[in-house]
């Protein structure tokens, strides 16, 4: 069964925490990965691969640059399920 946006956000926050040490509660939908969370492109790719694995979705490399905010990523994963 497909996960809700809230569930995807919670799962994604755990992945971000594991990769960067950023507290899960800081990973909010309106946050920018780069500007607010200070996540660099290599960490972002690691998060993407772990998200693909966790949620069973495919996030094309060319799509990663469009995932500016946490909401972008959560929406993409939710729709791709």
């Amino acid at each position: 069964m497909a996960l809700s946006k809230t569930e995807v956000l919670a799962g994604l926050a755990e992945i971000v925490n594991d990769e960067t040490g950023i507290a899960t509660e800081a990973v909010q939908l309106d946050k920018s990965f780069t500007d607010d969370l200070d996540i660099d492109s290599i960490s972002m790719m690691t998060i993407v691969v772990n998200a693909e694995d966790k949620f069973g979705v495919k996030i094309p490399d060319e799509e990663v640059k469009n995932l500016i905010t946490v909401d972008d990523a959560v929406s993409f994963i939710t729709n791709a399920q």
Partner: protein, 334 residues
């Protein structure tokens, strides 16, 4: 009249690496030295690559000079005479002549003439490709000793304003002598290629475009994130397969010697591979930079020289890069 029976080579059972040799560029280039044209900083480069300095060769130090130096050290440490070398394999992408090969000139310069000699074009996987071929040549009985060299003068093919790869790159050469052994010293190689990502790492233009005036001097470029993803998650599968076919587990290793592409790739690969704490992870990139085909032998040579690993231990070596091409094997440290 009956047809005569042909002679064929008499195989030997096992092979091993006898020795290594190393030569690095004579210049130490700091991050501050190169940060300006890419609008970057020492901190940014360290954080994203792990590199503090890279070694580059001055104008007067050629790729061949470094290859000769590394080869002579390996020959001396192997305790053989250069005339006993039965093949010279030179892995490089920066030999500045389409033909003849760098290997033939190297063979002559080190006293191995008339050994068969040829270049290998497998970029950062090239040294592991060379070890695979040397292992096969020795075990088949085709050559008693094989010289494998991975060498690059990448600084001839960089663009100071390129933010994708140029700032990572260094110059150097690593050499190994492979020969017959009474016990297994080189595991089966897991190697391959994926030309569907042919454009992921390579040159900005072809020589024909340069000739026609439609392109400037070709330099190296990469699609960094695509390569990072492949280098970690696909290479983890290759590394696991290499351990499996070697008949060992990561717990049996003394060292993990990956291509020194980027510290983030090295560390993530080690993490995904779940190597135990006692396994020494080669991080020669920090002070040498990424030297493509030279990086695996240079890193292994450094670990042995510093005493961080001992002769006789097992090392998983894995090279990966442009092609895309990859090769991995477990070796007994010389």
């Amino acid at each position: 009249m009956s047809q005569p029976t042909l002679n064929q080579y008499t195989p030997v059972k096992f092979s091993r690496i006898y020795s290594l040799g190393a030569a690095r560029g004579d210049l130490t280039v700091t991050n501050d030295d190169i940060a300006g044209p890419i609008d970057s900083s020492d901190e940014w480069i360290r954080q994203r690559t792990g590199i503090i300095t890279r070694r580059r060769a001055s104008e007067s130090l050629s790729l061949m000079d470094m290859a000769v130096s590394a080869s002579l050290e390996a020959i001396q440490n192997a305790g053989i005479d250069a005339s006993e070398i039965g093949a010279v394999l030179f892995s490089t992408i920066t030999h500045p002549h389409q033909t003849p090969s760098a290997a033939a000139l190297l063979a002559d310069k080190i006293g191995a003439n008339p050994a068969p000699a040829f270049d290998i074009s497998a970029a950062c996987a090239g040294y592991c490709y060379g070890i695979a071929q040397a292992d096969a040549l020795v075990r088949s009985g085709m050559a008693q000793y094989v010289l494998v060299v991975g060498g690059e003068k990448l600084s001839d093919f960089i663009d100071p304003t390129d933010r994708t790869i140029s700032f990572l790159l260094g110059d150097g050469a690593g050499a190994a002598i492979v020969g017959p052994s009474e016990t297994p010293g080189i595991s089966p190689t897991v190697w391959g290629s994926d030309g569907s990502h042919w454009d992921a790492v390579g040159m900005t233009a072809s020589l024909l475009e340069l000739r026609d005036g439609t392109a400037a001097w070709p330099t190296l470029r990469q699609e960094g994130l695509t390569v990072f993803k492949w280098a970690v998650w696909e290479m983890v599968k290759v590394a696991k397969k290499a351990l499996e076919v070697a008949g060992i587990t990561a717990d049996d290793l003394s060292a993990l010697v990956t291509h020194q592409a980027n510290i983030r790739i090295i560390d993530e690969l080690a993490k995904q591979l779940a190597v135990p704490d006692h396994v020494v992870i080669a991080r020669d990139i920090i002070y040498t930079g990424n030297t493509s085909a030279a990086s695996v032998p240079l890193a292994m040579h450094a670990l042995l020289k510093s005493g961080e690993v001992k002769s006789g231990g097992l090392a998983l070596e894995i090279g990966f890069g442009a092609g895309l091409a990859f090769g991995a094997q477990v070796v007994v440290l010389p």
